[in-house]
Homo-oligomer: 439 residues x 2
């Protein structure tokens, strides 16, 4: 039985207990949320045996972030990718997706699953495409085999583009950037040439059986997500979304856990509408968004354009944000890009948790602010999302004089932004004493 | 007469014409907005003579961004600061504030004003404090002299903390980070020790006369802006805001142009309320926000925490965003930090312009997206906010094989993220042809 089926049966699983504990929420609430389909716990039985620490993804728990990794035929060897995986986890990625399309896909994936305690996701069509000479040769059996193979490896959730149908294809014609989902475009090409319905859709029931066997969570892929502002919220995107809504119900009937992937590139004024519409159409299934990027003119800075959209999406109810690195649209990220992407999305997710008034979400902010006000530089760095970077910037600005140790009588009660005479916090500290004497 | 007085008299000034032209709006609309106090054109007569290109700041025109520069007693010589000024303007800063508190303030400022065509702002109390042994020695005459001196130099707008009153001081006690505005804390200390009302408030009328003489625009400083999430939207902040509302009316009566400074650190769920309240309380005066930062736990990444808040603030009606660099809270920025801060805020401001449906705001996004879809790398870079960085990332990922020239038959129709076999845009391009053949 899957987490969903057990939740429906009233059972609180050990995985639900762990999630409840980590989220500081009652286990019964977690069970109720899983049973309602509003929370998923992607935890393949096989990965669980190998040390997976279950993570809850849903509107009632803290916002999660995913880091996409994996090599491509043009870049990235296995060892380098594994280095990046560890970097992503170190900086706080809640899940990892292996999007490898290059060599040694199996070895890389098995390594990831065996060595990371966070849930691992994949997009099975990548391996199918890699192993065939031409995606047009893909058969339904290839699909079932690939999904079963990856489930056996211990993959916790899979992005499969089941909801892109024949009737949606003509809707893409008026777009500027067509289909920007790799899985979506491969599937669409297969459908267009063979003039057949999407095989992932027609074989959804059989796929559900495999998913249920291992308790692999669905991440219903949005093959028609917009790839630029112009294409956002169009008939293609929402046409696919309504099929996702149907499949959510079918997936639940088959006992599987279902989450939904979302855009993409969306102007800020359409984000709230997009999230509310997804939650409504997909019966409360957790929403896993890619960005969204709020403008198209900042290649090299798309971790930021997408963190703006991601923070807003999470505030309005998205459950997981897929990170974007500064290299988006330009190339595969290196470790430093992964670090920048992960920390950027951690801060966006955290800001949303604060905005949604999640329990204890602001405690760390308050603690860091107290450390800041008392010039306890060391504690301020420790409480930071990226202590090393905060310290290195401080040190760079202060040079050899930097002295963050709170026990040192020579530590600075100012930073180089203002210097001692102009430090507002130092002045207010004086002021507080003055006010106390007066009143 | 000031721009405001001329607008009230029905006159369309050459400066309004320039603003109208740059914003693709009718000059009469600009005049109306200036007359209503919803738009300011900070243009000191003296800077105008030296080549200032007037900029409009208000809800009806595109969102502007400001870059704070200037040395501190601990860091930054004049030549290095001027380098940063040019870097900020190159990457698109719409205005520059000279916040120098170190040596040679006058020479640095005069150099800025003489050499940049964008409006220059200052915080006069910094120079007052620098020139006195102790801020407690400050007299009203010091204040009037400093403001007149800087107005004569050609400063276009000045941040002065006039609205922080005696009755607000006790409200600061319950805060975690007290007063984080340097000008606010200096003023508060003076007020607390002398037990006198804020001299910038008591001499507001005389200050208005100087401002009107040169047409220096008020930037009513928020001395009590919150310095952490905990302190946001508290009685101190809103107490000062209501005095800003009174002073807006007084300033307009004296013929001056008025804009209002805003927070600071604000949780995302309070941003819309903050902006609407400011617009309401301050009678539509343009709102110039510092961030706001949406969480406190990301030192080293505060250009991003603040760009999230800034983009949202601008979407809800803020007129100008003050950039924040990655060094915020840690030290003075170097040129690379300035570049990161400026580009980050340009993209945030731009995203807000798109979200507000400002005329033509999305054109550049659409054009870049078309270039992206047709693998015209060179055009994609040219349309980017930071072409150099986009190109360098692309080149880094592609190595020596990089070939962005659209006329070169060998140029890549993919990037290293996906490689040729998995490039969604390339596949959709194939797909489009297939669909056209079919239908």
């Amino acid at each position: 039985m899957t987490q969903y089926q057990k939740a429906l049966a009233g059972e609180i699983t050990p995985e639900m207990e762990i999630v409840a504990n980590n989220e500081h929420l009652p286990a019964e609430l977690i069970r109720e949320e899983v049973a309602a389909g509003r929370l998923v716990i992607p935890a393949n039985r096989i990965h669980l045996k190998k040390g997976l620490v279950p993570v809850g993804i849903g509107i009632s728990v803290s916002t999660k972030i995913n880091a996409n990794l994996g090599n491509s035929p043009v870049a990235g060897d296995v060892e380098k990718e594994l280095e990046k995986v560890h970097c992503a986890v170190q900086y706080g990625a809640d899940t990892i997706m292996d999007l490898s399309t290059g060599d040694e896909i199996d070895r890389l994936r098995q390594n990831m699953i065996d060595n990371v305690a966070v849930p691992v996701g994949t997009v099975p069509i990548y391996q199918i495409c890699e192993e065939l000479d031409d995606i047009l040769d893909m058969t339904p059996q290839n699909i079932l085999d690939a999904v079963e193979h990856q489930a056996q490896q211990g993959v916790d959730y899979m992005t499969i583009h089941c909801a892109l149908l024949q009737r949606h294809l003509p809707l893409v014609k008026s777009r500027i950037t067509g289909i920007v989902s790799r899985g979506g475009s491969l599937t669409a090409k297969w459908m267009a040439v063979h003039k057949e319905e999407n095989p992932f859709y027609t074989h959804f029931g059989e796929l559900c059986e495999i998913m249920a066997d291992y308790d692999v969570t669905w991440s219903l892929g949005d093959g028609l997500r917009p790839g630029c502002l112009h294409d956002a919220s169009d008939a293609a995107q929402f046409g696919e979304l309504s099929v996702m809504g149907e499949l959510t119900i079918k997936g639940r009937k088959a006992g599987t856990q279902v989450m939904i992937e979302g855009p993409g590139h969306v102007p800020m004024d359409q984000i709230e509408m997009n999230i509310k519409r997804q939650i409504d159409v997909c019966h409360g299934a957790p929403f896993y968004v890619l960005g969204p990027l709020v403008c198209d003119i900042a290649p090299g800075y798309d971790h930021i354009t997408s963190a703006i959209g991601g923070a807003m999406a999470a505030m309005y109810g998205a459950a997981m944000l897929c990170y974007v690195t500064p290299k988006e649209h330009l190339g595969l990220p290196n470790s430093e890009d992964v670090r920048n992407g992960v920390v950027t999305f951690k801060l966006a997710a955290h800001a949303a948790d604060v905005a949604r008034h999640r329990i204890g979400a602001r405690d760390r902010d308050d603690e860091l602010s107290r450390a800041r006000y008392s010039f306890d530089w060391q504690k301020q760095f420790e409480l930071s999302l990226d202590p090393q970077r905060a310290y290195s910037y401080y040190k760079e600005a202060r040079g050899e004089k930097a002295c963050p140790n709170p026990d040192d009588p020579n530590r600075e009660r100012f930073c180089s932004m203002c210097g001692p005479k102009f430090c507002a916090m130092k002045i207010t500290d004086d002021l507080k004493r003055i006010l106390e004497e007066i009143q």
